[in-house]
């Protein structure tokens, strides 16, 4: 493989990884901190994409970012209300919202499954114009995405150190303790899901603008991709480490995941296999550490079995 091809591959992986990193950071908040597996992620990602696309198409590229985040927050609010105030199980609440979001997203897109932003002014095209002529001109996408990811990491680290952030972390760790600190876990869960879904939606918004295209299915499988990235990040930076390093680990996990993805593509893997690959990576990242722990015991059992009789004999 020639060097320039390899570099191009690396750049694409880095760009896609950074787009996903925002969703991964969202799951870092909801899954790792709040201990809620938010299955509305796919729909919320698409929601952010469609809201961002519609607002950008209307001629407001900057407004598209907060608009997408606001839409994500609303979606998080619905998910949280279902599970905290209406007795719907946490996983089910996510699935229900995810399903409903398909209709919502189609409605926002004006009953279209795709929206093209080929000639639309987006945050990316604006960055491209601003950097025109400088040596960074070719890297405008990377710069926008890296800035977004960096801002989100900083925000998350500051947020998780506030009392609100501490309360959210405690809710995932021991809800009894939160209650005895006179804080309502339903409230902290709601705030946590609103913030995390705002991240997810922003991620979708940036993805659509980067690809100059919105597609109703662009979010499908996103929760698996993000979980896989998060778990890869968790293997690099363990749970006991400080928040900043864990958040950076999550971003790194997102990029690494895309590198693996890109390599698989290089190996002549057909594109339709990619979803299966993300599932396999999730399983490997979860059961890898499990088997590492179990392996010595399995070996001992086998040895004991070979020597006849096993431990009971």
């Amino acid at each position: 493989m020639e060097l320039d091809k390899l570099l191009a591959l690396g750049q694409t992986a880095l760009e896609l990884g950074l787009v996903n990193a925002l969703t991964v950071l969202a799951l870092f908040l909801s899954y790792s901190m709040l201990n809620v597996c938010d299955l509305s992620t796919d729909g919320c990602f698409t929601l952010g994409a469609v809201v961002g696309a519609v607002v950008a198409l209307a001629g407001h590229p900057w407004l598209s970012l907060p608009a997408a985040m606001l839409a994500g927050m609303l979606s998080g609010l619905v998910t949280a209300t279902l599970q905290m105030r209406m007795g719907v199980q946490s996983l089910l609440a996510g699935i229900v919202v995810n399903t409903a979001l398909y209709s919502v997203n189609m409605a926002i897109a004006g009953n279209k499954a795709t929206l093209s932003m080929n000639k639309t002014v987006t945050v990316f095209s604006m960055a491209k114009d601003a950097l025109n002529g400088t040596f960074l001109a070719g890297q405008y996408k990377l710069l926008v995405l890296a800035a977004a990811a960096a801002l989100m990491v900083v925000f998350l680290c500051l947020f998780l150190r506030t009392k609100m952030g501490l309360a959210i972390r405690a809710t995932g760790s021991n809800a009894d303790m939160v209650r005895s600190s006179s804080i309502d876990p339903a409230f902290t869960t709601t705030v946590g899901l609103c913030v995390s879904n705002a991240f997810t939606a922003l991620s979708g918004c940036l993805m659509a603008q980067q690809q100059k295209n919105f597609d109703i299915n662009m979010g499908s499988g996103m929760v698996t991709v993000a979980l896989a990235s998060l778990l890869i990040g968790g293997v690099i930076v363990s749970r006991r480490k400080p928040i900043l390093r864990r958040a950076l680990g999550a971003v790194l996990g997102a990029v690494l995941f895309r590198v693996v993805y890109a390599l698989a593509l290089r190996l002549q893997m057909p594109a339709f296999m990619l979803k299966a690959i993300s599932s396999v990576i999730v399983v490997l990242a979860i059961s890898g550490p499990y088997f590492r722990k179990q392996l010595p015991l399995m070996l001992r059992r086998r040895r004991a079995g070979r020597e006849g009789g096993g431990p009971d004999a």
Binding site: T162, K163, L166, N174, M177, V178, S180, S182, P185
Partner: protein, 264 residues
């Protein structure tokens, strides 16, 4: 202080498994009381605490705290005035967070977006030092790394950081080894006395039920069957207590741990 009027709770009402966990309980706790509560398994001791804390809402009756009706107030809102420790030392603190972060939440200081200041940290240090367990030098360590006794002492500190009107201790030393249990109990007594906290303590140790505090309740089948204080209580022995139990309930105590502690 705390007034419970005709409080009843039935589990599984309307089924063959229906069980009256609290049966028309009336209790008047005076300010500064330190009440020990004993009773057989399933007598309703923990349910009594759950009703006071708001973990379970009573079916009938009213609960007043300092004249305010809290019968149906949500649990987390009562927690400002009521501190509680459980038998399980793991229940009172968040294992994935540091000692400092746990204390920051329990201290209740600051608004939602505030952060722990250096002055707060110094205050946490000073309070932790009072426990005499060296925790003040481990403030940034996750609570999950502490021993059961250390965690229970930390929970005690957290529950009393903002002085509660009422402190409920649900066999909070029962899961600790004897030496640690004694130490945590001593800490409890000191904190309760210094801050004039009104306190209810469930215990299976009948000797400490008589030694500690100024009043003892005995529960059986959801009722308070014996309530003693003053001179009568001062002259009681553990033997008297078991006799009282047999008289009131018509059978012997069936709490294994109680019987064991009686023999000891």
């Amino acid at each position: 202080m705390l007034k419970m009027n005709h409080v009843s709770i039935t589990f599984n009402p309307g089924t063959p498994d229906a069980k009256k966990a609290l049966d028309d309980v009336n209790l008047h706790v005076l300010p500064g009381d330190f009440i020990s509560i004993i009773g057989a398994n399933g007598a309703g001791k923990s349910t009594l605490f759950n009703a006071i804390c708001g973990s379970f809402m009573p079916d009938t009756g009213t609960i007043l705290l300092d004249g305010r009706n809290i019968t149906l107030t949500p649990e987390h809102q009562r927690a400002k005035q009521i501190g509680r420790l459980f038998q399980d030392p793991m229940r009172g603190s968040a294992p994935d967070m540091s000692i400092e972060e746990n204390l920051a939440l329990a201290s209740g200081i600051g608004g939602w977006l505030s952060r722990v200041s250096a002055r707060d940290k110094q205050r946490f240090r000073d309070r932790l030092a009072l426990l005499g367990m060296g925790l003040e030098d481990r403030m940034r360590q996750p609570v999950g790394l502490l021993s059961g006794g250390q965690r229970q002492a930390l929970t005690l500190l957290m529950a009393t950081y903002q002085i509660p009107k009422l402190l409920l201790l649900d066999e909070h030393t029962a899961a600790l080894d004897p030496g640690t249990a004694e130490k945590v109990l001593k800490l409890t007594e000191d904190i309760v006395r210094e801050n004039h906290i009104t306190c209810l303590m469930i215990t299976h140790n009948m000797q400490s039920a008589l030694d500690l505090g100024n009043r003892t309740l005995m529960m059986h089948q959801g009722r308070i069957i014996f309530d003693t204080s003053g001179e009568e209580r001062a002259s009681l022995t553990v033997r008297d207590l078991t006799d009282r139990f047999r008289q009131a309930s018509g059978r012997a105590l069936d709490n294994d741990r109680m019987l064991l502690s009686e023999q000891a």
